[in-house]
């Protein structure tokens, strides 16, 4: 069944390739962007529903069946709101800031391998590219804070920028650990190195780095328990305090897209991306009938659905954290980032060096 889809897709691709390279790329970009934006919309809905059920509430349930049209209602509301530009602010930079944040949040998706073939740009320095793109997200924050011409926005921007810088280092070191195992910066190679069973995935040898990477990812996206940028219960919102209407909505979409990106990257780097946790030869014969058999085989085999499952799991974790942990105090965040996570990554990189030298386990041969 899946083969037909892939075949059809390939024929489609060949046809589009015939057209010319630019429209073909644009079509591919749309094919990534549109599902992502829909996912972002329903991620906000899922967040409200899941947190509601964790706190014994109902959550959105009025707009559409079970509140399923709520994201669109919110979108329409934000779209028709007035965009207020503060007096004496720099209008160009004020409007540029959300655009930068949005662009950078989606540009990183260019190198994400959804499947062994489905990748927009299979470049050799893919991981570096992702690091570069995520490190650019900070400009949206700083420019937004500065261009608002408001001290609250500026202080909020400084607060979140300092946090992002601190956790970016820990994140980079965690990625160094992944690169040391894979010996490649290409994301497809990093997935292929994890081929085998669940225990060949990199979360086993790199468990501390995986935890640190995910904590740093939560901090980078300004999510609870590190959401000092927003901090809705104790202070006015951070760098985007002066933004209204679509300006705010664009920041919001970028934040959720970044959360999905971190989840996808965790799935790729530490949990084998599109690899299946089962191996085919360990299964008996399932011959019930052809269709069911094929269906089961399709689900057991490697494929994009495993990537989606894993990503969805980590996306759920983001929401789970928000409903579970109390917010960190700011100095505690800084201490955790600089004095605990960074030394821990350095220690584990050293341990990993020993692993590689003594060729331990199935990962370092």
């Amino acid at each position: 069944m899946f083969d037909y889809i892939v075949n059809y897709f390939n024929i489609l691709l060949a046809y589009f390739y015939g057209l010319s390279i630019l429209p073909y790329t644009l079509i591919l970009i749309t094919m990534i962007m549109v599902p992502l934006l829909i996912l972002v919309a329903y991620y906000t809905y899922a967040e409200r529903k899941i947190i509601a059920s964790m706190q014994g509430r109902l959550g959105p349930n009025v707009v559409g069946p079970k509140g399923l049209l709520q994201p669109f209602a919110d979108g329409v509301k934000l779209f028709f709101k007035e965009i207020v530009i503060p007096t004496d602010s720099n209008k160009f930079l004020f409007l540029l800031a959300p655009i930068i944040t949005f662009t950078v949040a989606f540009a990183a998706w260019a190198v994400i391998p959804f499947d062994s073939v489905l990748v927009l740009s299979d470049i050799n320095a893919g991981l570096l590219y992702i690091l570069a793109m995520t490190s650019l997200g900070i400009y949206g924050i700083i420019i937004a804070g500065w261009a608002s011409n408001s001290k609250y926005a500026l202080l909020g921007a400084m607060r979140s920028a300092a946090l992002i810088i601190a956790y970016e280092i820990a994140m980079g070191f965690a990625l160094v650990g992944v690169i040391m195992v894979s010996g490649s910066l290409n994301l497809g190679d990093i997935i292929n190195i994890q081929r085998g069973s669940v225990f060949n995935w990199l979360w086993v040898p790199l468990f501390p780095l995986f935890i640190i990477y995910f904590i740093a990812g939560v901090a980078e996206t300004n999510r609870a328990p590190f959401d000092v940028a927003e901090g809705e219960s104790e202070l006015v919102a951070g760098f985007h305090v002066e933004y209204s209407g679509m300006g705010f909505a664009v920041f919001f979409i970028a934040e959720y897209a970044n959360m999905i990106l971190i989840s996808a990257l965790t799935a790729i780097l530490f949990f084998g991306g599109w690899l299946s946790p089962f191996s085919l030869d360990s299964l008996g014969d399932f011959a019930i009938n052809d269709f069911t058999n094929n269906l089961i085989l399709f689900f057991i085999n490697d494929g994009i659905h495993w990537f989606i499952f894993k990503t969805l799991f980590f996306m759920f974790c983001f929401i789970w954290f928000r409903a579970t942990f109390p917010r960190y105090r700011y100095d505690q965040i800084m201490r955790l980032g600089w004095k605990i996570l960074i030394p821990l990554t350095l220690v584990w990189i050293f341990v990993e060096m020993l692993f590689i030298h003594f060729k331990i386990g199935p990962w370092f041969n």
């Binding site: 320095a125 570096l128 570069a132 490190s135 700083i142 400084m158 810088i165």
Partner: protein, 194 residues
């Protein structure tokens, strides 16, 4: 003119215009943002020369880290825009410095044989990133390690400068915070004690 050369002229003109803007603009934050634009376009130029590793590292290090710190400092300082300073002295120095730099660049570009030097393509099949890594850790390993050591010294120096007046700083002691107990901090008062 093919699309590559159109792109090249576009990118270089952006670089040149924003470099001029960087010098002319009064607002320091705008100047820093123009520098971001210059680095970004330089990265595009390097990408067009198939130096993908250098391009991405330029964005990662200079745009993503160094200039963020620049912006941090500039935004937190309260810089007054000076209006009427006699600019004649500045003009003199800038003419001297730019003449020297132009002469140097001219000498480098026109008297250096680029065809027969420096760039050795070891193997067409392996990627740029791989090749740079190989060269860094074999041929240039000494200078690589020395650079790393200098950076380490710089980090330690920066921390040491920052650590001087510990008494005045309002610091939390995390050890003390962890050792605090409920019994030490909380006291339940009865009605008659109030």
């Amino acid at each position: 003119m093919d699309i590559i050369s159109i792109l090249f002229y576009l990118v270089t003109s952006v670089v040149i215009i924003s470099s001029i803007g960087l010098i002319v603009v009064n607002n320091t934050v705008h100047a820093a943002l123009l520098l971001v634009l210059i680095f970004f376009n330089t990265a595009v130029l390097w990408l067009m020369m198939n130096a993908e590793f250098l391009a991405i590292v330029l964005v990662l290090v200079y745009v993503g880290a160094v200039l963020v710190l620049f912006l941090f400092v500039i935004m937190l300082l309260d810089i007054q825009v000076k209006k009427t300073v006699s600019k004649k002295l500045y003009l003199l120095f800038s003419i001297i410095i730019s003449t020297i730099m132009f002469a140097e660049l001219y000498l480098v570009i026109f008297y250096h044989d680029f065809q027969n030097s420096s760039v050795k393509i070891i193997n067409q099949n392996i990627s740029n990133t791989y090749e740079i890594g190989l060269l860094l850790f074999t041929e240039h390993v000494f200078s690589f390690e020395v650079t790393a050591f200098i950076l380490l010294v710089a980090i330690i120096a920066a921390i040491a400068i920052n650590m001087t007046d510990r008494q005045r700083a309002l610091r939390q002691d995390p050890g003390k915070q962890i050792l605090e107990t409920k019994e030490k901090r909380l006291k339940i008062l009865k009605d008659d004690e109030i």
